[in-house]
Symmetry: D2
Subunit: 338 residues, 4 copies
Amino acid sequence: MDYLDLPRNRQMNKIKNIGVLTSGGDSPGMNAAIRAVVRGSIYYDIEVTGFLRGYEGLINNDFIPMDRKSVANIIQRGGTILKTARSEAFRTVEGRQKAYENLKANGIDALVVIGGDGTFTGANVFSKEFDFPIVGLPGTIDNDLVGTDFTIGYDSAINTVVDAVDRIRDTAESHDRLFIVEVMGRDSGLIALRSGIGVGAEAIMIPEANMNADDILHKLEHSRKDKSSKIIIVAEGDDTGGAFKVGEILQEKYPHYDTKVSVLGHIQRGGKPTCMDRVLASRLGVVAVEGLIQGESGVMVGQINREIVFTPFDHAIKHINAEKVSSKWLKLIDILSF
Amino acid sequence: MDYLDLPRNRQMNKIKNIGVLTSGGDSPGMNAAIRAVVRGSIYYDIEVTGFLRGYEGLINNDFIPMDRKSVANIIQRGGTILKTARSEAFRTVEGRQKAYENLKANGIDALVVIGGDGTFTGANVFSKEFDFPIVGLPGTIDNDLVGTDFTIGYDSAINTVVDAVDRIRDTAESHDRLFIVEVMGRDSGLIALRSGIGVGAEAIMIPEANMNADDILHKLEHSRKDKSSKIIIVAEGDDTGGAFKVGEILQEKYPHYDTKVSVLGHIQRGGKPTCMDRVLASRLGVVAVEGLIQGESGVMVGQINREIVFTPFDHAIKHINAEKVSSKWLKLIDILSF
Amino acid sequence: MDYLDLPRNRQMNKIKNIGVLTSGGDSPGMNAAIRAVVRGSIYYDIEVTGFLRGYEGLINNDFIPMDRKSVANIIQRGGTILKTARSEAFRTVEGRQKAYENLKANGIDALVVIGGDGTFTGANVFSKEFDFPIVGLPGTIDNDLVGTDFTIGYDSAINTVVDAVDRIRDTAESHDRLFIVEVMGRDSGLIALRSGIGVGAEAIMIPEANMNADDILHKLEHSRKDKSSKIIIVAEGDDTGGAFKVGEILQEKYPHYDTKVSVLGHIQRGGKPTCMDRVLASRLGVVAVEGLIQGESGVMVGQINREIVFTPFDHAIKHINAEKVSSKWLKLIDILSF
Amino acid sequence: MDYLDLPRNRQMNKIKNIGVLTSGGDSPGMNAAIRAVVRGSIYYDIEVTGFLRGYEGLINNDFIPMDRKSVANIIQRGGTILKTARSEAFRTVEGRQKAYENLKANGIDALVVIGGDGTFTGANVFSKEFDFPIVGLPGTIDNDLVGTDFTIGYDSAINTVVDAVDRIRDTAESHDRLFIVEVMGRDSGLIALRSGIGVGAEAIMIPEANMNADDILHKLEHSRKDKSSKIIIVAEGDDTGGAFKVGEILQEKYPHYDTKVSVLGHIQRGGKPTCMDRVLASRLGVVAVEGLIQGESGVMVGQINREIVFTPFDHAIKHINAEKVSSKWLKLIDILSF
């Protein structure tokens, strides 16, 4: 597929009005993506309609027409101006039928959906059910999609974690403390992995590896004694059961340690997107429109090795992070905290 | 007392070597305070010795001589380079006796202690017991000391809270959610109060006021329906029992709300100090030295209405925040969230 | 005057619709102030109208009705949603006449103007000319108004400077460089003064003091040699002629120094307001409305020693910073960089 | 070459002591790189020596032995703890001879040099001249090296630019202004390119493209009139002659615009490194050591498509950015500002 050099008069295509929505958990950069979809559509002389609260907006016919002005000065804002939600109704045939009828009634002939695996699962069913053109944009802090090196929001989230843990390091260092810090990632340890390296963590506990509390203990006992503060990063989806559980085990077995637990929580979803997330969202957003123009559907647009790649929805959501969490990254943490 | 215009040859005073330490919970700006004590002492031709881990350093004779270089480039750093701790031993007569002997042996003839109420309680006893000159600097994020409008670290902490809750607002707004956010302040609602105004909170729950979960419910039910996200700030010392308890109550009575809880935790102690905290620490740090030169002891140096004020330790720790938490501030929150 | 505890039924007052505008150079916290004026007015059952681009909006009848929603989620935003401008037309009788007619035609019976000395000069004339109730809010990064300890935006601006100079310190320290950094302040050295202390500057050059390049040279030559990086903060209004001029002089007389110049410029006007600026703007904004209700006019509302103070416009703009720039602050810089 | 899974007993190699230095312009992440080289060496049982101020340290025999503790808590710091400089002496045969003798005398048998093209040019000559093993790490904010997708510091620098221009956008938007913002990049427009997309710039002017002031004028005149603020990003190396020159031309031809110029300057070199820069520096730093163990020399270690790549110094410095600045990126800016 061609991209970013389509002729503007290529508009022999039948797409007149693209609907755009954000769905699932929000991530920094979603606004930059919306902006790119809107500006990209206008550039190719296509109208754009924003649906509110994800698939709920389709079902409830809750939408706003978008123009250049609607997306002015939002590239730097966290959250999503289109709001987002998880939709139970869209899982039912009736819900999707209603959504389809609203789309037809409003003259929308294609959709760009911005979200993660739940979003794409719904898009996949809907697209096939009604033969409706949909292209997806990977908007999630978790980076747990196949078909893109990075998802929109991941870079921002790990920088938020790094900023928060740098603060914790200040106080940990002052008090010679051990901190167990829980970061987001229900099925994926990718946030924990990169931010763990970024903050100089002693160890990380993630679903993809099987380090347990005993391993941590062993590591702490055999690590150099000259380090005053120690930080363990735990992914919320880790098998041990989260930071509080880990803290409890360590405290019990290791009572001479001054152990504290911190769960970073929802601060990880908000804040200004980083430059990388803005650039990624801007590029993929325009290409999503160009993909629809060229007949793509049922695919997510991503970036692999800096190249644009389209991946079918059912493959994108496969949660194969093996490649992304190779044992070499874990080894790197070992070497650096040695 | 004169300050910031003492003649440098005023050194008819008997102080030759000032010990400095940080004690209790750390706060941003402690390093700026240490720097000011060191540089101020050197300016007046006095030697300075840094004791590590608060009163533990006195007892264990754990110290480092400080020169200009020791405090270069630390004004912007969170935490404390002298480290901090709470000392059980210093509560015993034996502990304090040991500390006194070490001070004498090392030729230290005055102390500057940086910390909060616990720190000053210890200093008060020690100073009287051994007739030892001590001046205190208010270093705590809680702002709960009498004798200063602001403590060193408070401004930084509320800005950290504001930054974190701004992020939460992004996601709350995207999802139309109600967030209960817990901030530090075991005995004092001052962090909650100012940061609550700063983030545009719907309500705050603090030890000094008696708003309970029912009041919050009432407020939420009667507030305008057009606001999509709502944020309640809870001080950890609030009577209701913290953010999780509040969240539980609200969730139960108000099941149609999408309620989330976030406990900000130790990120509030770390990070770069704000300009105000650096300036406050710099000014008070130098004045603490000048106070000792002029014979002050058993007092905390603070700033009230921009003027330097010395307050006896036993008055400084009285936890009278009445003035600081006037009902007018609570009214302001009501008006702004009306 | 009472404030923050007026009865809501006090509405025997004749004010039905308050106009609000921002004028002159923008400052962080102006949006928080607008929000407080709007919410405060609504609380007291008064309508609010926002005029665009300062006095230009009055003259061109360019306005928008404001409700709670108009100011939702703006407390954290830099700039001003009402936009701002300097108005030549408002300096003419005709211009002001036009403005007055528009106000009458729209049923506006009082104004809150947010800005600095230029804004208040215009308000002062207009208020007297047409006997029109106006209360001013001090919105400027310069902190150069009499009648308030701090202006809205000053704290944010000095933190922006501190953040920028911390970055410069990183590279200055790595290269053993001398940096001359110019900060805003055409008539006032207050930004330079506080941020200079905050960044640990070697010296500051401000309009209120008469340190010249030779003094700086002398200071650098006699200061300790053990410090690798040196930073001089210059207010743009300093007599020597700005950072480039100072850099030139130092470079020539002191060729063995690796001297660099940095002019921070307009980044100082933008960015999120700090917590202090948000709280100040929130408080003063509500009180401005309450002042109008109680018959105040021709005054700026400020905060001195944490108390609300009303100051006549012509006194507020007198540029007497003597108090704010006492020699003790300059002495403090000397001691800390000794 | 293998990496991150070498056996630790592989120490049949002859390297006993690695020297490490930073040279040329500093960049955020250099400290993270130093830390990784030190920890990686220790892990493989190699001693490490830090030379101060780049090649000057080699020539002046100015060094410090490094242990784990020397690099504790520096991963988050901007600048370089080893300091940096440009060395004239190292360009002479005598200088390099001196350096070589010092290295031999101190038992250093390999070097890791962290820097940009100047650094690698020197390393290349030295390595060949004395058959001395050297591996380079790409530490520069410019991202202008062949052999790595990103250099250490680039991601941090573009985020600093984005943060600064976001602030400028606030004030530009409030005043309906046109800003010309100059960013670093003497030979390369890569900082301008990505940050330009990140801030939603109307246009960028870079050495690699030939957009001149007239093109900008044309663009501004034909762009939509509904946008109140406009931002042009200019790379310092652009042919037109920098932001002030561009501002002058635009102001003259386009007098009705309120045009302002801002040169971001050295703030771009400092500040905390982003997570991406920390991870990149950590990974490449360890691999540099492993490369030396396995006999690599005269090469820079980089990362292309997430894979480790070694590139000979003379190729790395070739300044071929064609690939990195494709016309598609410029088209993207056009579409987004359309």
